[in-house]
């Protein structure tokens, strides 16, 4: 990692690679009958000061999104109007933590794109606004809905999508994640709607509940 002022900040040791996290803990060898747990990556929580009703203008201000086309330039300005220091603290693999109705307001895809380009692995919020929800999965940014009220900035987080859990490792708490709709999962697995469309030559879902 490039040495910058922000990377010198004391951060808990968190594995950002795909390596097994539990290697150090589990000293006794696994018995053949034991089911091997899936390896979960750990992430740092980045909690916004303002929690509810974060609109897409707050994610990335109209001052920038109308004139800058390069996502790498845009993402330097995320949340500038509500927390000017925030963007500089974000590192690859972090999870953004917010409250109710995250992403309300405009339909601009620059909002989820800036968050993805800034390095966020996912956004965890109590609820999301409709257009943002769709846009995020379309561009391949994962969103999880759960109770985020107890997660503090800097907490270490694991996401277990299979089991539908968000684990706050720092606090020893686990929260249920609202199931990600199958359509969204498919889009995410395919790397976004453009890749999905190219893969199937259209949409591969047409289902009734």
């Amino acid at each position: 990692m490039k040495k910058t002022a922000r990377s010198k900040r004391a951060r808990p040791k968190v594995s950002r690679s795909n390596g097994p996290r539990a290697a150090a803990k589990k000293k006794k060898p696994l018995l053949s009958t034991e089911v091997k747990k899936p390896v979960l990556n750990r992430h740092l929580a980045r909690r916004l000061k303002v929690q509810d009703n974060i609109n897409t203008d707050y994610v990335i201000s109209g001052r920038y999104k109308f004139r800058i086309q390069d996502p790498k330039e845009l993402c330097k300005h995320i949340f500038e109007d509500i927390d000017p220091e925030f963007a500089a603290r974000v590192m690859k693999g972090d999870i953004l933590v917010a409250g109710e109705n995250f992403g309300c307001g405009s339909s601009r895809e620059q909002a989820p794109q800036s968050l993805k380009t800034a390095g966020f692995y996912a956004v965890a919020a109590k609820s999301f606004a409709r257009i943002f929800y769709r846009n995020a999965f379309n561009i391949g940014l994962m969103l999880v809905e759960c109770n985020t009220g107890f997660i503090d900035d800097g907490d270490t987080i694991e996401l277990d999508i299979e089991k539908g859990k968000l684990n706050d490792v720092s606090k020893g708490l686990a929260f249920d994640i609202k199931p990600i709709p199958s359509v969204m999962k498919k889009l995410l697995d395919d790397g976004g709607v453009v890749e999905h469309f190219k893969k199937y030559g259209g949409f591969s879902f047409n289902e009734q509940t």
């Binding site: 009703n53 609109n55 203008d57 707050y58 201000s61 109209g62 001052r63 999104k65 109308f66 004139r67 800058i68 086309q69 500038e80 109007d81 509500i82 109710e100 109705n101 309300c104 307001g105 405009s106 339909s107 601009r108 895809e109 620059q110 989820p112 794109q113 609820s127 606004a129 409709r130 257009i131 769709r134 846009n135 379309n138 561009i139 709709p181 359509v183 976004g192 709607v193 453009v194 469309f197 190219k198 259209g202 949409f203 879902f205 047409n206 289902e207 009734q208 509940t209």
Partner: protein, 421 residues
């Protein structure tokens, strides 16, 4: 089984009987992008690699958010849009044509019963003319431009009944602000909202567009109304395609029913920095203002300009106030000019700028200074919306904005009751 308007439109466009929460792949009648979103539409379309558009008559682009361009970055985006339009022979409404949500219905691109997507959150505006129209991101528009289709989760429906007779000086903007105050900014998230009641029926089509325009401000996907004779007449004069009016069935399933009586409603104002942070005008009298803005996809139509002109006639804008007027389209601008409204604005001391989004989105045409307070007819007052996070935006009807601009502080438009009657 009985169906809501949303269920009916999504059924007819997917070719099968769908219900709330189903996923349906539908044929889309029309889609578009504006200059804040089209750049990514173009990039995503090229990434799809299909090489051709599905139907060039079912798409257009509108340059409205920063028109004319205020800087080099925006100029590059406008140039990219013009060249894409040329390459694929697509419709482009260039600077001066107006705001997309005025252009799309006014030029007859949509009609009753249609399914429409726009890369702009206020695409829900055409719900007032019985269109299932909703805002999506740019990549979704690119998919539809390439295939003519998109996927939809059929929304659940909330029924909103607005009863009573509007008092003088109170308008459709006040109705929707009142509803936003009650339902909240996420109270209708993902839902289709169907509007009914004598108060809605009594409104002109233009006034109804204001209500549907702001459906997204309560989180809704669509804010739809039935097509009565006023709507059918309005559409017939504009769209060449035959309308297909859609009504909800008796016994259709609603997740919530809300009733409002607006007979005693005061003019409403949304305070900084949220659309659902609403007060009666009486509570805000004497709040100083530095800028007033009349225009946008919410309230920039002829009728809105006419109401403001009635108040401004033979009056002067307060010398402490900058009053900016942006008609929603070239046609509205021209009609206002022919009927003498533009003269009234100029004589009162307003600055009339070209048709477009104007200062609403904070890119040009009246960016606020630190600490400044604006009163605007727009639909959003988020922090920084008008270009400066250290400024404050109040949202109100054209009448309240005009009355406030004269006094230099928030003013009850019912002071001009005689002029407005």
């Amino acid at each position: 089984m009985a169906q809501t308007i949303a269920e009916k439109i999504l059924s007819s466009h997917s070719g099968r009987d769908v219900r709330a929460l189903d996923i349906a792949v539908c044929d889309v009648d029309f889609c578009f992008g504006q200059d804040g979103t089209s750049s990514i539409v173009i990039d995503s379309f090229k990434k799809l690699g299909v090489g051709k558009v599905f139907d060039k008559n079912k798409f257009c682009m509108v340059i409205d958010h920063s028109a004319p361009s205020p800087n080099i970055g925006v100029s590059a985006i406008h140039k990219k849009m013009r060249s894409f339009a040329k390459e694929f022979d697509l419709g482009l409404y260039d600077i001066g044509c107006g705001v997309c949500h005025q252009i799309v219905p006014q030029h007859g691109h949509v009609t009753c019963g249609d399914l429409v997507l726009g890369a702009d959150s206020h695409t829900c505006t055409y719900g007032a003319i019985n269109v299932f129209s909703t805002g999506v991101g740019s990549t979704d528009i690119a998919i539809t431009l390439a295939s003519g289709k998109n996927w939809f989760k059929v929304p659940e429906t909330m029924k909103v009944i607005v009863k009573g007779k509007l008092p003088a000086g109170v308008y459709s903007k006040d109705i929707i602000l009142h509803i936003a105050n009650d339902i909240g900014s996420n109270g209708a998230t993902y839902k289709s909202v169907e509007f009914y009641g004598e108060a809605i029926s009594s409104l002109s089509v233009d006034a109804r567009l204001t209500i549907s325009n702001m459906a997204v401000e309560i989180g809704a996907k669509v804010g739809i109304m039935e097509a009565d004779n006023k709507v059918l007449k309005w559409v017939a004069g504009r769209s060449k395609r035959p309308p297909n009016p859609v009504h909800a069935d008796i016994g259709a399933r609603y997740v919530a029913v809300k009733e409002y009586d607006i007979s005693g409603l005061s003019p409403q104002i949304a305070k900084p920095h949220a659309v659902d942070n609403v007060s009666n005008v009486e509570e805000l009298i004497e709040q100083r203002i530095d800028q007033a803005f009349l225009g946008t996809c919410t309230n920039g139509r002829f009728e809105d300009l006419e109401i403001a002109a009635k108040i401004l006639k033979r009056n002067k804008v307060n010398p402490e106030v900058k009053f900016i007027v942006a008609p929603a389209s070239r046609e509205i601008f021209l009609e206002a000019s022919k009927k003498g409204l533009i003269d009234i604005f100029i004589e009162a001391g307003c600055v009339v700028v070209g048709p477009g989004c104007g200062p609403c989105v904070g890119t040009h045409n009246g960016v606020l200074a630190d600490g400044e307070v604006a009163i605007s007819t727009a639909n959003r007052n988020f922090k920084g919306r008008m270009g400066n996070p250290n400024s404050f935006i109040y949202l109100a009807s054209p009448a309240t904005v005009a009355a406030s601009a004269i006094k230099g502080s928030i003013t009850d438009p019912r002071e001009y009751k005689k002029r407005l009657a």
